[in-house]
């Protein structure tokens, strides 16, 4: 049996769907014999009816469409913000790849040109100072020793400086190729015994500055 205090606490749940059946039965039994609690229940049912009206009046309330529009705009903004850096990264990586390809191509062309192009031949002894660079980076198989180089140009001797006055003399000497070692030029031992005509470029001080294997020397050697 429920008393008035318990009814005030639990009895108003009598109409709820999730009310405890035993509590609801006890409350119903109490209210039959208690005018005060009966009036309380009646008042509550009236309020509950009003709450029902309020619930019905606002049952279909929903946020206005502008809220969804604003949210979708935010969604779009964020999506674009995500896509933009990705696109930029793609463009940047393509640009980097293109730059790398270009650099490799230029490098290859330069290397190729240097290995194929013969060194410039000076027209006269006066021009010899600026020339005579044998490509030291050339392939090992294609390496030319200065003393073997029959290209018809002067090779600067080690330790000598080009003459600034330009008043040089050329002396032709017939000698064995191995003799060029004395002037600091490397010589292929297998060809050291070859006889060659050598032009020496001698400066004002009487010291040889550069050397050139005469172009006819090989022919001459064969003839001999």
């Amino acid at each position: 049996m429920m008393n008035c205090e318990e009814f005030e606490l639990l009895g108003l749940d009598i109409d709820r769907a999730d009310a405890d059946p035993r509590e609801a039965a006890a409350a119903a039994q109490h209210v039959e014999g208690c005018a005060r609690c009966s009036a309380l229940l009646e008042s509550w049912r009236e309020v509950k009816g009003d709450l029902q009206l309020l619930r019905e009046a606002t049952r279909f309330e929903a946020a206005p469409a502008r809220v969804e529009m604003r949210l979708k705009q935010e969604l779009r903004t964020r999506r674009e913000a995500r896509v933009l850096p990705r696109r930029t990264a793609v463009i940047a990586s393509w640009a980097l790849a293109a730059a790398a390809l270009l650099a490799v191509s230029v490098g290859w062309v330069r290397t190729h040109n240097q290995s194929v192009r013969p060194a410039a031949v000076p027209e006269s002894a006066n021009q010899v100072a600026g020339v005579t660079a044998i490509d030291s980076n050339a392939d090992e198989n294609e390496t030319l020793l200065a003393a073997d180089y029959d290209g018809g140009e002067f090779t600067q001797l080690p330790g000598s400086l080009p003459s600034e006055s330009g008043e040089n003399s050329i002396f032709r000497v017939r000698m064995q190729r191995g003799g060029l070692e004395r002037f600091g030029l490397p010589v292929d031992p297998e060809r050291a015994s070859d006889w060659v005509d050598v032009d020496f470029l001698v400066g004002e001080d009487g010291h040889p500055q550069a050397v050139r294997l005469h172009q006819d020397s090989l022919v001459a050697a064969v003839a001999q």
């Binding site: 108003l12 009036a39 309380l40 008042s43 509550w44 709450l51 969604l75």
Partner: protein, 197 residues
């Protein structure tokens, strides 16, 4: 699409899929909006709450962890926090005119009642609305969830993150205050006390 798993929808929405977002939004916003509206009494505040809840979902989706509960419960929790903050920082807003969310005047649904009956009904609704808004936040929340949203005690307790006993206690107190206020508003006290002291 609408029947799709909410977690899948959320992932798609966060990636920018507007259809997925629309499905999620339409599924959850009415509940959140009604709750916020009934708690704050202000369509503008309710609109702001809904917007903030979904903005959070868009901007920080990682805050929702499926392992810890359903998306609906998470969104409701966020909405509840926003509502409580709103109630803390602003005095209770009671609109003099009954307005719809879009700002238009409240319109009685099609009802075969005489104008007199419609006016009386409207007055009753307004009185009970005012009485609910007059309750303190915790009692109001218990009334809104258990009486207006028709949640069970367990559901309301879960939504508020408190024990069932606390919800029942708050509801008991809220009902008593509601009865007293409505009797006062209608100037027709039928009984001296219903526990509202």
């Amino acid at each position: 699409m609408v029947d799709e798993n909410p977690d899948v929808l959320l992932k798609r929405a966060v990636r920018g899929d507007e259809q997925a977002f629309h499905a999620l939004y339409q599924r959850h916003q009415p509940t959140l909006y009604r709750y916020a509206l009934r708690m704050t009494g202000s369509p503008w505040a309710a609109e702001e709450v809904v917007q903030e809840v979904f903005l959070l979902l868009i901007r920080e989706p990682q805050k929702y962890q499926a392992a810890r509960g359903e998306l609906g419960a998470f969104l409701f929790g966020v909405a509840r926090n926003r509502v409580m903050k709103h109630l803390e920082r602003t005095p209770r807003e009671l609109s003099l005119d009954v307005m719809n969310a879009d700002g238009s005047a409240w319109r009685e649904p099609e009802d075969p009642l005489t104008p007199m009956m419609i006016a009386e009904k409207r007055e009753r609704i307004e009185q009970v609305r005012e009485a609910v808004l007059g309750l303190s936040a915790e009692f109001r929340e218990a009334v809104v969830l258990c009486e207006l949203e028709e949640m069970s005690y367990e559901e309301a307790a879960q939504a508020c993150g408190c024990p069932v006993g606390t919800i029942r206690s708050r509801l008991h107190r809220g009902r008593a205050l509601l009865l007293a206020r409505l009797e006062m508003l209608r100037d027709a006290p039928r009984r001296a006390s219903a526990g509202a002291k």
